[in-house]
Amino acid sequence: MINKFLGFEPDKDKLPSLTAKIGDDIDLSSHKYQKIWLGPNHPGVTGNMAVELWVQGNTVVKAKTHVGYLHRGFEKLIERRLFVQGFPTSIRMCVAEPDTNEYLIATCTEQLSGYDKAVPEMAKWLRMLSLEMARLQGLLRGVPGQGGTFALGLGVQWGVYLRDLILDRFEELTGARVYHMYIIPGGVRGLLPDGFKERMEDNLRDIDDFIIRIRKLMFHNSVFKKRAKGLARITPDMVDKYGIVGTNARGCGVKRDVRKDHPYLHYDQLDFDPPTDTDGDIYARTWVRWQELIQTVDLIRQIMAKMPEKGDIKAEMPNVLHWKIPKGETYVRLESGRGEYGMYYVTDGSAKPRRVNLRGPSYTHAIALLEDMLVGADVADVHAIMVSLQTCPPEIER
């Protein structure tokens, strides 16, 4: 109303109609369209990637995702490395939740060499702990980060601080802040340090407080509600068509969670139920993630209560320098904060893998799905849509 009074409200009727469809050749020389590159050097994109947008006025009519800016050729590099050398390389495949990569590569090698039964109990619980901590630190960035895309920076400030506390715990447990290199084929690389559980509990209490506050700040916020509700809606029939997984699928009521569907480690001994919502828009997805935040905190508490006090951390295995795995192939998956995260692993009987292929959820979310979802969206919402799909470029290009 005010806008109209001041004359800012664009008269939609005067704009040319949206004639272009995805796949059509858009003739830029017709002067009806403008091309915008969002990224790679743009604070609004998720990491070092780019989206090429064709816009008509404020509306996107065509989008193309460009990746490869972070391409390091991991899959090629791991083919050159011994089985034990794979995990420091693989962990860098995704910086947002690095532990998932080490778990995958360790489990693949264990399954193919037959040592998966030999992994000690203690190591399994510690693996779960580090995976859940990784999920927690990812969510602490991700949930308020969605608010950040709508210019709500305060939640990010809180979230990043709390994430840092979890990184401190990681540092105590694993010896590193971000690239933990903790889960290795056969086990893990250390027991819990003294007093870890108490300090973790302190942090979890802070996070409990944060969860309440972020709810008030984001989900009861008129701006957030107005912009996020109804935006970038995923419908249940899209889930299989696009291969949507994780919170993006759960946001529209399709309950898929690898932890429940294919229980790995000791997830079958934990009491949890993956949260879902029905709307499928950005608000619903963020709401699911917020519930997941509560659940992850609870899971960490459960794990710390149920895990044994002491035990072996690594299985007895052959000399790592000449470890050979017979010919075989496998696919291992886990539930990362972004959804099903898997690895296809092929061995050929030598001391090095034949092929390693990572299946990141962003591979489908950020290319096929994002490109289609951006059509018709406002330019100002592009960033929000990218973040809501949990785009993580390194796992696309690897």
């Binding site: 086990g187 009861h220 007895e316």
Partner: protein, 597 residues
């Protein structure tokens, strides 16, 4: 949307009164105690084995020589140099470090303007973080990257073996050998210590790859007696094995034996590609068919020489056959190695004593060169009171008689003087004979050296005790008590030290602490001397003498008479592997002398 949605976010203002979470001094913040920061290395413990280099997936580690660290047995003299333009701080190098010398401190700050500075040798180049105690060390417990426990070798049980001369070590099966070979980290430190410089990591690798023919080829590159060495080698390599710093050293000897055992002798020529050998028309004579002589013969015949061996006794093998009891080295295994060498075209004359049946001078005239590997076949005496009694024997003499199948005098109580491997051999042989004869054992082996310093291999002592022989070291023999012409026993006093400050042999004894070992028979086994009676005086005067009464030879075991080469126990050792190494080197020396470079 309601008014509530507009007002609720303002609750965030309640944080305004909270204490800020900002770290006051972030530049001096300590990292966690387990943090993987910059490297430190205890260079005195480090042996430069290069395992850290092998496991580094980023090729961040170089091995470089360091001032003040010498290359010696068991220490390559190299130390890791780390390139921080490569490192990813995964600490695999720390986890696999064979000596636990490498670690990561929790220091993490290094800012520089010159990219070439980010390389350093931890523990050597001055860095301010070495004093930090915190940091990453190898995780505990039971966190190992290679097996620390040796694969158990199957042995005959003491009860089964104590009265028989059947070989007591069973040998590895394929699975056992591969499991044991898997523990090797391929550093190659052992190669320098092996007198023959065998390609140990290479043949262990051949076992891992299940390519035993390749393994045999590697063995024969430097050692033509693998069956023998695989059983009785003194395995100096195992004393420096890097795996031994944290766990049991690799049983390199048994692995060598495994390769030799698994290859049938009739296939040797095909595997080793020695069906057809070229000839160069020159002739070499070899005196003695011990390890040195056989080794020299083998490499000479490969080089194209016509080789003839002159052996005093009725069978080839020298001390290997006549000095080592059958339960350690069965005669058919000696035959396997010897027959292969003979099958290459080496001629051997048995029962020919040089100096008696044929003179050395004659050999020198008939042949282009002569190699003498005559060995130490004269027993040494303690020369204490009573050693001239008829029931005081030399061990070497008894062992030869046992091999030759002669009946020897075995009374109920025996004392053996000596703490070396030969003493253990005779002790255990006599114990077996006693068992066969009386059904019980009473042999006492005593030596000057204390238990820790006994020159015999540790397992020999343990096995001797398992066979109920008594090993009681640390006593200095004083006199043999003889009553009515019969030996009653040996008087000993406690021995305190063997060498004085200058390192000369000068035993110090505690005369107060006495002991008496009852015996009907005394065996002396305190070392052997060489018999040089085959060298006539006119030749001897041309030969220069070196230290410890041995003849002086050059690097190629050439004496001052250019056509005469000498090697084996008379020059170095005494053990088999030195003999083999000498023979090989002398063969090359003869080739150099006769044909030139």
């Amino acid at each position: 949307m309601s008014l509530k949605d507009i007002l609720t976010p303002f609750t965030a203002w309640s944080k305004v009164v909270k204490e800020p979470v900002t770290i006051k001094d972030p530049l001096n913040r300590e990292a966690a105690p387990r943090y993987r920061g910059f490297h430190d290395n205890d260079i005195d413990t480090c042996i430069g084995c290069g395992t850290c280099e092998a496991i580094c997936e980023n090729e961040a580690i170089d091995l470089v020589p360091v001032d003040g660290i010498e290359t010696k047995d068991g220490d390559s003299g190299l130390r890791p140099k780390i390139d921080y333009g490569r490192c990813c701080w995964c600490a695999l190098c720390v986890d696999i470090c064979t000596t636990n010398s490498l670690r990561l401190t929790n220091a993490y700050k290094w800012v520089d303007t010159d990219p070439d500075n980010f390389r350093f040798v931890p523990g050597v180049d001055e860095k301010d973080w070495y004093k930090r105690e915190e940091g990453w060390r190898k995780p505990e417990p039971n966190y190992e990257f290679y097996g620390l426990k040796r694969v158990e070798m199957g042995e005959l049980h003491p009860e089964e073996r104590e009265d028989s001369f059947v070989e007591m070590i069973k040998g590895y099966s394929k699975e056992q050998a591969e499991a044991e070979a898997d523990r090797c980290v391929e550093c190659g430190i052992c190669t320098a210590t092996c007198p023959a410089h065998m390609g140990i990591p290479e043949y262990i690798k051949a076992i891992r790859n299940d390519d035993l023919e390749e393994g045999l080829r590697i063995l024969y590159d430097t050692n033509p007696l693998p069956e023998i060495c695989g059983r009785i080698c003194t395995h100096k390599c195992e004393t420096v094995c890097t795996i031994g710093h944290k766990g049991d050293p690799l049983s390199i000897r048994w692995l060598k034996r495994y390769i030799a055992d698994q290859n049938p002798s009739e296939k040797y020529k095909k595997i080793l590609e020695t069906d057809i050998l070229k000839k160069n028309g020159k002739k070499v004579a070899i005196i003695g068919s011990g390890p040195a002589g056989l080794s020299a013969a083998h490499y000479l015949v490969l080089l194209g020489y016509e080789v003839e061996i002159f052996e005093k006794l009725e069978k080839a093998g020298g001390m290997m056959r006549y000095g080592i009891p059958e339960y350690r080295l069965p005669y058919d295994q000696i035959d396997k190695d010897v027959n292969y060498i003979l099958s290459l075209g080496v001629k051997i004359h048995y029962n020919v004593t040089v100096g008696k049946d044929i003179t050395l001078k004659k050999l020198g005239e008939d042949f282009d060169a002569v190699f003498a590997g005559t060995g130490l076949h004269l027993g040494r005496s303690t020369r204490i009171e009573g050693t001239d009694h008829e029931n005081v024997y030399q061990s070497i003499e008894l062992l030869r008689k046992i091999t030759q199948g002669e009946e020897i005098y075995v009374p109920e109580k025996i004392v053996v003087i000596g703490g070396g491997n030969v003493a253990m051999d005779i002790t255990r042989s006599l114990a077996r004979l006693q068992n066969q004869k009386y059904g019980k054992v009473q042999v006492i082996a005593t030596s000057l050296e204390t238990e820790e310093k006994m020159p015999a291999d540790r397992e020999e002592v343990i096995e001797a005790r398992e066979e109920k022989a008594i090993v009681n070291p640390g006593w200095s023999p004083q006199r043999i008590e003889i009553v009515d012409g019969k030996i009653k026993g040996l008087h000993v006093v406690q021995c305190l030290s063997l060498f004085d400050e200058t390192g000369n042999f000068n035993p110090q004894c505690n005369m107060e602490n006495k002991n008496f070992f009852e015996a009907d028979m005394i065996v002396e086994s305190i070392g052997q001397g060489m018999d040089v009676s085959y060298i006539s005086e006119d030749i001897k005067e041309h030969l220069e003498l070196g230290p410890r009464g041995r003849f002086r030879v050059n690097d190629y075991f050439q004496t001052s008479l250019p056509w005469l080469f000498m090697g084996g126990d008379t020059i170095q050792g005494p053990d088999v592997i030195h003999g083999i190494a000498n023979g090989h080197k002398a063969a090359l020396g003869i080739d150099k002398f006769l044909i030139g470079e």
